[in-house]
């Protein structure tokens, strides 16, 4: 939780409350807020000094968070807490005056001697400051990019795994949906079979009908033939007997009558106009 000091700063309350439990086995200070730890300048040092090393297995979890930003510094060397420490007594310009005074004192009393090393120090430190000011940000970005790549790689693995499982779930769901629709297939097959059965039944029925009709036609035609034969036989018998019954004399008389009749007709015919 971000309190008043902000992230990355010396959080006196958290130190006094939380970390002290780690420092002493059994957490003897857990009930109190140690006042020596509230001092922002000396607090970290005191905490490290009272930390007891290797009395038991180090607790591996939860590991404390890496702060996102380092402590704020002035001139790249002196932490801002020092300036705040001096502020109540000497104001804003106090620390700078102190620094300048110390440097001038050491120079004038030859505590710090200007030798050849001074110039090499100026050139080396100047070079370092120039490089840090110019390329510092880009190197920091590069380091952040390295971490970013590592996280992205792991994230990709995680996403690929999630995607795989999601695909499996979708496939399973579609399979289940297909199973729901299976009955259409079975209905169609059932209908097909029913139609085939019907067809076969009707076909056989028709064949039976045809066979029976054949038999009956046969009987009818036999009857017809018998009747015709009988008729012909009777006609022949009647003709034969009629012809037998006609004597020769009767035959001559009939023929003479027919001729007389024809002559009569022939006399009458030419009197009528031809149409």
């Amino acid at each position: 939780s971000d309190g008043a000091p902000g992230p990355g700063h010396w959080d006196a309350d958290a130190a006094a409350g939380g970390l002290v439990d780690l420092a002493v086995p059994g957490g003897a200070f857990s009930g109190r807020r140690a006042p020596c730890l509230k001092n922002p300048v000396l607090g970290p040092g005191v905490l490290q000094a009272i930390r007891i090393f290797h009395t038991r297995q180090p607790s591996l979890a939860p590991i404390p968070c890496v702060p996102e930003y380092g402590g704020k510094v002035c001139l790249g060397l002196i932490p801002k807490e020092f300036f705040q420490f001096l502020y109540p007594k000497t104001g804003v310009r106090g620390p700078y005056v102190l620094g300048t005074g110390l440097i001038l004192y050491s120079l004038s009393k030859e505590i710090y001697v200007i030798t050849a090393e001074t110039f090499s120090a100026i050139s080396t430190i100047g070079l370092l400051i120039y490089v840090v000011k110019k390329y510092g940000a880009s190197i920091g970005e590069f380091a952040d990019k390295l971490s970013e790549q590592k996280i992205a790689q792991l994230e990709e693995v995680k996403q690929a795994s999630i995607q795989q499982i999601q695909d499996a779930i979708d496939t399973e769901k579609s399979q289940q949906a297909l199973v729901q629709k299976r009955h259409y297939l079975f209905d169609v097959q059932r209908n097909n079979i029913a139609m085939a059965l019907e067809l076969t039944y009707r076909e056989r029925l028709h064949r039976v009908y045809r066979e029976v009709k054949n038999r009956l036609d046969y009987h009818i035609s036999v009857q017809n033939m018998m009747r015709r034969k009988e008729q012909e036989h009777m006609i022949n018998w009647v003709e034969k007997h009629v012809v037998q019954s006609i004597s020769a004399q009767q035959e001559k008389e009939t023929i003479a009558k027919c001729i007389a009749g024809l002559k009569l007709l022939a006399k009458k015919a030419p009197s009528q106009p031809v149409l």
Partner: protein, 226 residues
């Protein structure tokens, strides 16, 4: 001048206690152990650099040579960091001491040679005679090759010592020249100061290059012998 030119190369001691041990052990705390999956910027950059260097340096070695990976990487990190820290003002560079460089060079070189003689005796002995030498020259050439073999550790140590020491001396001298010229002519002093800056840039490069060269040569001797 109340100190002679070579005072900065004396083994440092405080109240009679040799603190050179502390100075030699100091660079190791500048390489923190990566504790987490995502580390801070310093460790990320160091990890990336070490990966880059080790991949490039161990590419030429076979399985047996790659068992030396930790040794070679520690070597280049130690020499590089020690040389770079020595460029800070008023600091002591352990690699200017011939004793220390001999102590690094001789065991490593001897390790490679003994490995070669132990596992590939015939090939190691064959190194003493280059291919295609005419028959009368053979004895002399064997002697020359033997001398060249035994000079390798000396060359390694002396090369490193001489380079770093010469660099420090030059910086010291030119700084002294600048100091002396300030009272005489400010312009000349300024020019000399520019020369000093250029030299400092060179020295930064030399610090890294010497580390690289040392490790590369050890790696080459290893490659010959595995």
């Amino acid at each position: 001048m109340n100190e002679n030119l070579f005072a900065s190369f004396a083994a440092p001691s405080m109240m009679g206690l040799p603190i050179v041990v502390l100075i030699v052990m100091f660079p190791s705390i500048l390489f923190p152990t990566p504790n987490r999956l995502i580390n801070n910027r310093l460790i990320s950059i160091q990890q990336w650099l070490i990966q880059l260097t080790s991949k490039q340096m161990l590419a030429i070695h076979n399985q047996k040579g790659r068992t030396w990976a930790l040794m070679l990487m520690s070597l280049i990190l130690f020499i590089g960091s020690t040389n770079l820290l020595g460029l800070l003002p008023h600091s002591f560079t352990p690699t200017t001491q011939l004793s220390m460089n001999l102590g690094m060079a001789i065991p490593l070189w001897a390790g490679t040679v003994i490995t070669g003689f132990r596992y590939k005796t015939k090939a190691s002995l064959a190194h003493f005679l280059p291919q295609g030498t005419p028959l009368p020259l053979i004895p002399m050439l064997v002697v020359i090759e033997t001398i060249s073999l035994f000079i390798q550790p000396m060359a390694l140590a002396v090369r490193l010592t001489a380079n770093i020491t010469a660099g420090h001396l030059l910086i010291h001298l030119i700084g002294g020249a600048t100091l002396a010229l300030i009272n005489i002519s400010a312009t000349t002093a300024f020019i000399t100061f520019i020369i000093l800056i250029l030299l400092t840039i060179l020295e930064f490069a030399v610090a890294l290059i010497q580390a690289y060269v040392f490790t590369l040569l050890v790696s080459l001797y290893l490659h010959d012998n595995t």
